[in-house]
């Protein structure tokens, strides 16, 4: 059964696109068939982070509107065979998305992939709504600061009411991905601590991704960080998160750049 996962946050610039690419690549490296979809119509980014910007011919809007089929629009990753990208359109805007069109595309993808990962735009408008609409599972990307946490809380409320699953009376699974986490600054009190964020949002923790220059380096190379430098601290955190998504139980740590040295935080497990 295909899992539809939305990567969302409410607040902009917290690491949704980075996380979509990193988790998508990490899942694909374990042999899963993965497609990542960019719902940020008009401000597409995922193609750049994946290094596929020169290969985009057709996009999500073309498929939604029936002007192209999926075979024409899907871009296969050159590094990992089982990873594909469905890019957004840079020239159109979110009004070009339609409910029926998006539903048809998701249903078609369900027949072909194990994971359908939707990179949501920031905000709570149309694009974010369509990205979460069909999700079974949501990864809430949050930075350890109050505005990001509050926006995440808002998004969780919307996930519990505006998704198809919620409307059927089921609950959508929500997992917290704490990104750009700096243990030193958290200790100094410049940032919220992991426990504070968990207490406010009260959803299970999927992973803690440390702040690291490796992320920007990878995106400049046009590669998901988990492929660009798999032993870097953020990559190890994303690889662990991907294994938790597959149902494995892995101790929660904040990897640091010193190899082999894991800052063990606590024995909390993701649900």
């Amino acid at each position: 059964m295909a899992e539809v996962l939305v990567v969302t946050s409410g607040k902009g610039g917290v690491g949704k696109t980075t996380s979509t690419a990193a988790l998508g690549a990490a899942l694909a490296q374990t042999g899963q068939n993965v497609v990542v979809i960019d719902f940020d119509v008009g401000l597409r980014n995922l193609d750049l982070v994946m290094g596929a910007e020169r290969r985009v011919v057709y996009d999500l809007i073309n498929v939604v509107q029936g002007d192209a089929n999926l075979n024409q629009a899907l871009i296969k990753d050159k590094r990992v065979d089982s990873l594909s990208l469905l890019p957004a359109s840079q020239t159109r805007d979110k009004d070009a998305l339609t409910a029926e069109g998006v539903e048809r595309v998701i249903n078609e993808l369900k027949g072909r992939f194990d994971w359908i990962i939707c990179d949501s735009p920031a905000g709570i408008e149309r694009g974010a709504y369509f990205a979460m609409r069909h999700a079974d599972l949501a990864v809430i990307v949050t930075n350890p600061e109050v505005s990001s946490v509050r926006d995440s809380d808002r998004i969780i409320g919307l996930l519990d009411s505006k998704t198809e699953k919620a409307e059927r009376g089921e609950t959508i699974e929500k997992l917290l991905l704490l990104t750009r986490y700096d243990p030193v600054r958290a200790e100094r009190g410049d940032m919220l601590k992991v426990d504070d964020v968990l207490e406010i949002l009260s959803i299970p923790l999927l992973g803690i991704i440390p702040e690291s220059p490796e992320v920007l380096k990878a995106s400049n190379l046009g590669s998901p960080v988990t492929l660009a430098n798999p032993i870097s601290a953020p990559s190890r955190a994303y690889l662990d998160a991907a294994r938790r998504l597959r149902g494995e139980t892995i101790e929660m740590t904040v990897p640091t750049e010193k190899r082999g040295l894991f800052g063990s935080l606590f024995g909390r497990r993701a649900a």
Binding site: A99, E100, R150, D153, I156, G157, D160, I200
Partner: protein, 239 residues
């Protein structure tokens, strides 16, 4: 059918110089139907007509909020849809889910203020049971949500920053209260607010409100009760 809440801010008559001015803050809550048209709009309107035929007076003079986020509304199609609803006697108090600029002319007043929309996505009381009673909310109240109820409200989890609970009776929060709690909203000086961990943005009882700035910092994070002592809102630890 989420409830919509309207808050009225009622300024007091000006007080003599030197005396603290108090702004009264009354909440009024009522049920509003939220209609969410789905494409194709013609079919949806036909459904609506069928519903109206089955239950005459269903819309009556009940306020209605139109959520157009599921349809591809342009200024023109939106105006047409509003006309269709008006001709059916539907009383719109607001439109959400589209660019407010799409609402022009006489329809401009229908634009819902950004962030001020009454979300109320959690369990809403059935119209029949609105009288008085108690509402128990099992889930946390998330930022942007409004729980509005005619009676007492018990929240098992927390109330987030940017969320609000409005009750004509008392409010009990068993988690942290980080948002707003407005008790005795329809005029009830005996209503109280209880919470296990106080970090509220605003407390109000019977129109008398207090923001956290004016709260004793020692009470932050404590289990407290709030009640009205004449014209003063008092907050004290529960021990």
């Amino acid at each position: 059918m989420p409830p919509a809440a309207a808050l009225q801010i009622v300024p007091n008559t000006p007080e003599p110089e030197g005396k603290r001015r108090q702004v009264r803050f009354r909440g009024r809550s009522f049920m509003a139907l939220v209609l969410t048209p789905e494409p194709p709009t013609e079919d949806w309107l036909a459904e609506l007509d069928a519903l109206a035929a089955r239950s005459p007076g269903f819309f009556g003079d009940r306020p209605v909020v139109l959520d157009v986020s599921a349809i591809k509304a342009s200024p023109r199609t939106l105006a047409a849809l509003l006309g269709q609803l008006e001709s059916r006697g539907v009383r719109l108090i607001g439109v959400e889910g589209c660019d407010p600029k799409f609402l022009d002319g006489p329809n401009a007043r229908l634009a819902m203020p950004v962030g001020g929309r009454a979300a109320g996505e959690l369990s809403a009381p059935e119209p029949g049971s609105v009288a008085t009673g108690s509402l128990v909310v099992e889930q946390p109240v998330r930022s942007g949500q409004t729980i509005s109820f005619n009676g007492d409200v018990t929240i098992c989890g927390s109330v987030a920053s940017g969320a609000e609970v409005i009750a004509s009776g008392s409010i009990h929060v068993y988690g942290a209260l980080r948002g707003r709690a407005i008790a005795g909203s329809a005029g009830n000086a005996k209503a109280r607010i209880f919470c296990r961990k106080l970090d509220a943005e605003l407390l109000a009882i019977d129109g008398v409100y207090m923001t956290t700035e004016r709260l004793d910092p020692k009470l932050k994070g404590k289990a407290v009760k709030a009640w009205l002592d004449g014209e003063n809102l008092r907050v004290d630890a529960l021990d």
